[in-house]
Assembly symmetry: D2
């Protein structure tokens, strides 16, 4: 993939490789704990007990909108782009519909769904063309839309949200790019911040990285060139706990450049094809961090577009 150096592009230089998926990994993927035909992965953890308990976390009635504004200038992984056009169909030169003169604006979206605040459905990340449940492209990914693992299958994600403030953990205003969150970091941050990670949780990491987009000294090039984020041991630790989703306030959720040279998005692979865990990117966790809100009710209702892989989202945290 060619690096594209522009204000609104996410920059990445990793070589394309040949190679073959290890048989053990493939078999790991095929052996989903929720069965071979499972469409939901860790969303199976969304039990009524957990939902009820999460709702009990609402004590203030404060609502947090975790989705950022997403537009043509939002840094995007190349060649992703988008545009929105507003129009007034058939209303120019007349007073609209009916004697009551109903007029209206409509809008058209042209672009990629994996831009800005987004969910990676389980059909997004693979290992050498093998996906959650051991699926290959011919199994589920025709050009006309995913026939399995599409986001139309997912009712939403509701559960206990946990925010770990990694900037606080590292004692900095903003975590630097290339800093990986290891299992030990996660344990230490959770402990220091008085919150326990549990099965079925939605875990959100706060690095304050979004200040590079709209803070006092915005630097969108730096924002997209690299990022702090989840490391391999951290991903394995969260998968071991059995969380439902992992999110972060960066474009790719995991650390870039990778901890080990030559690796690319290894945490995505641990979470998605190997464990069926959802990924949430570009989550605006700043207000949660400012409030020291480490536990909350998390509610995501993504648009259920048929066959979609990713979706621009705006999850709601309530505490």
């Amino acid at each position: 993939m060619e690096s594209i150096l522009s204000k609104s592009a996410i920059i990445l230089s990793v070589c394309l490789t040949g190679g073959a998926i290890a048989a053990s990994t493939e078999s790991a993927m095929a052996d989903s704990k929720w069965g071979a035909d499972d469409q939901l992965g860790a969303a199976n953890l969304m039990t009524s007990e957990r939902v009820k308990a999460a709702a009990g976390l609402v004590t203030e009635g404060k609502v947090y909108s975790l989705g950022m504004t997403v537009g043509p200038d939002t840094p995007a992984f190349p060649p992703r782009s988008l545009s929105v056009t507003v129009l007034q169909p058939n209303q120019n030169g007349n007073s609209g519909l009916g004697e009551n003169n109903f007029t209206y604006n409509d809008d058209i979206f042209m672009g990629w769904l994996g831009i800005g605040s987004q969910i990676d459905g389980l059909g997004h990340s693979g290992i050498d063309h093998v996906y959650y449940g051991g699926r290959t492209y011919d199994d589920f990914a025709p050009a006309s839309g995913l026939t399995e693992l599409g986001l139309d299958n997912l009712p939403g994600l509701v559960g206990r949200g946990v925010m770990l403030n990694m900037a606080a953990h590292f004692g900095t205003d903003m975590v630097e790019e290339g800093v990986a969150y290891t299992d030990e970091d996660i344990k230490a941050a959770a402990s220091a911040q008085g919150v326990e990670l549990r099965e079925g949780d939605v875990v959100l990491f706060h690095s304050n990285w979004m200040e590079l987009l709209d803070g006092e000294n915005p630097d969108p090039e730096r924002f997209g060139a690299a990022e702090p984020g989840l490391g391999v041991s951290g991903a394995e630790y969260l998968a071991g706990i059995g969380v439902m989703a992992v999110g972060a306030d960066t474009w790719g959720m995991e650390v870039v450049p990778a901890e080990e040279e030559g690796q690319a998005f290894r945490a995505h692979q641990i979470l998605q094809p190997e464990n069926g865990i959802y990924i949430l990117e570009n989550m605006d966790t700043r207000e949660l961090a400012a409030d020291g809100a480490h536990e909350f009710l998390f509610v995501l209702g993504q648009a259920r577009i048929e066959g979609a892989v990713q979706m621009i989202i705006n999850p709601i945290a309530i505490r």
Copy 2:
């Protein structure tokens, strides 16, 4: 607007009209109770008290996904259409990124945002080209996206959800097209179903109309040709209460054909430009109705796309 008779089109025959907006109406619109520059309308009612109270409605931990699956075959108001394309950028003939062979699916959306389950932002409905807060096109609606009232402004909608089962009210399996919900109907249904409507509520009407899409005898043409729904007195009644949003399980929320011949989407005008109330269309209320769930926590986090008028949504109800 030309009627387009096809499986996936919503059919409407109302004459385009000339005419002028009454001065009184325009002044009503300009006098928003939340001020001339207000961007949020009834979302201003989303107070922490109300949110906290709504969270208290969660007693079962059951999650309802109110968004339908939205795809190319979803009936749409002409000329709206959409397509989704899945692709694997730059991964054909190689094993992906890095030595760990990261491969991925991406997706492209081409189409209109007002299809299927959708929110009408306050920039959607107008009266003779005048919109909420007295705005005209030059004020806020360039082709490049709304500069005011865009859905990027809206953090989401969280509050007490109320479902009124109008099929039960009318003693039928499915309410017929052209049946208007009057103020009296709404009062009677609420009373019979043991639920009170309050300021700040999200009110959802269930008619069972979605059975025409995916029920035992689907009839998408009938689905799109007309619909039962909110009538003028009903809209005024809800606006008087000061609800935050009104939704329904039909494509247009309000009754079609209109109660009075020659009128088109008058309830939209009462709710949106005159009262700043959000509209939610194609809400799948069937499971709520089956459970007799009349009160619940309602959470909508729509994608915050810059300058967008409408958005495909999937609100979550929790009780």
Copy 3:
């Protein structure tokens, strides 16, 4: 229209105005010399005699491609933009179709058709919402595509092409922005360059403006901020001759800023709604100019997309 200052945007600051079309103009438009229902305008001049005579201009067998490369970075009139995506539908992880392993690339275009080298169909330019033949929007311009004057109606444009080298006329390497081509300029240039303008001609003006895009010192901002081009008296002169099309090597064909302050694209109005003449923009005339080729066979076969207003084109000149 808001000015958008960016590398790839065409910049224009003219106030939006209210006003009413003069009755005389409207009646002029309605009185097309080819009848009220005419769809073709000056393309009616494409007679077999003229085509045969134009073919007789081919003496060298040299082919000129007048269309520029058009891509995402091509300066465009805001908010126009475009993107192209290449994909291999359903071929990742297999060897394609059939035992002969047929694989293929496909491509998706998302964007506006009025970018780069383009034809303005007769449905493009109007005077206060009135178009060629006296049509208003309700007559022919629904959002689903033009029902009249669409480029699907136009078989193509074939005829005698004439290139006038205005840089040579003004004795400069590149004509400056704001320089208008008057009737006297056109007569003088034609005379000095030994070419006569005739009814049915396709007249192309060369200013060397495209050097600002890909010449030695590219300056796309200057390219889009203004331009030399046809003036009002020039447009009237060409209309009087009865040419079939007028093209230029600039984004808007006519002079910007306008000769008279407060005017915007007046030459477009003279040519299109008042006289049914086609407009060709961003024609790369440099090689014609370098060869001193003032007469040639001109052949344009634009894609006949149903209901399209404009189209990206690549006319061919042969001499």
Copy 4:
């Protein structure tokens, strides 16, 4: 590829296969007669001598538009689709730009470029992921657009056009699906119709298949389900002659189902990756056939969109 049975879909059932390209074929592709880096293939044959001679074929001055109208209902190879939207940017509620009230229509295209009358650029057809000049995807086909073989490289195609009336050859009104044009058929048709095939020609086959789209008894399902067309020996014969392009009045140019069971688009492979010859599909040859016009000047100026694989076209024939 899943077959999609709909009015506007082209239907094809050929199994996806595994397999490996024969070394001999790959080497044949790499050994283009125009060199390894060649971008133009048979368009190199467009010499001034041939162009001049072709212009000499114009004796009547009659213009033929070979491009069909292309719209949302045009049968397309799945999952290709398109839409066009007409809008009046920023002009609703005002009188347009300037004191002269300049108003205008614009249009947006969302869709695939390989629909209706189209050119297959040399980057379209491959053999097991290997393309003209021995290129693989990583060499030239990123998602952001072809970096080689894109239609922006092609100036156009101008030369001698030859129409062979295969319906006349087979003594029928319309050639049936599955009928292959062999080398012998082509020789016999050319001989009977008094026309010689030469190096550099653009050869168009007329079967009258387009009557299934807009004739007296339209049958778009039959149109897209199969087709008559070029066979393998015919393709080899034309490649041997060294033609510049091969076109036909069908959606895929070559015979479907293939002559040999299990083969898919083998003639595409012979023409494109193996010989650098352009393919033109859905050419409306009916008027040429009606006139018995077997020789003419052929002029194609396709839009030069950066990185595009295919393009909707409207070639012009002049005789």
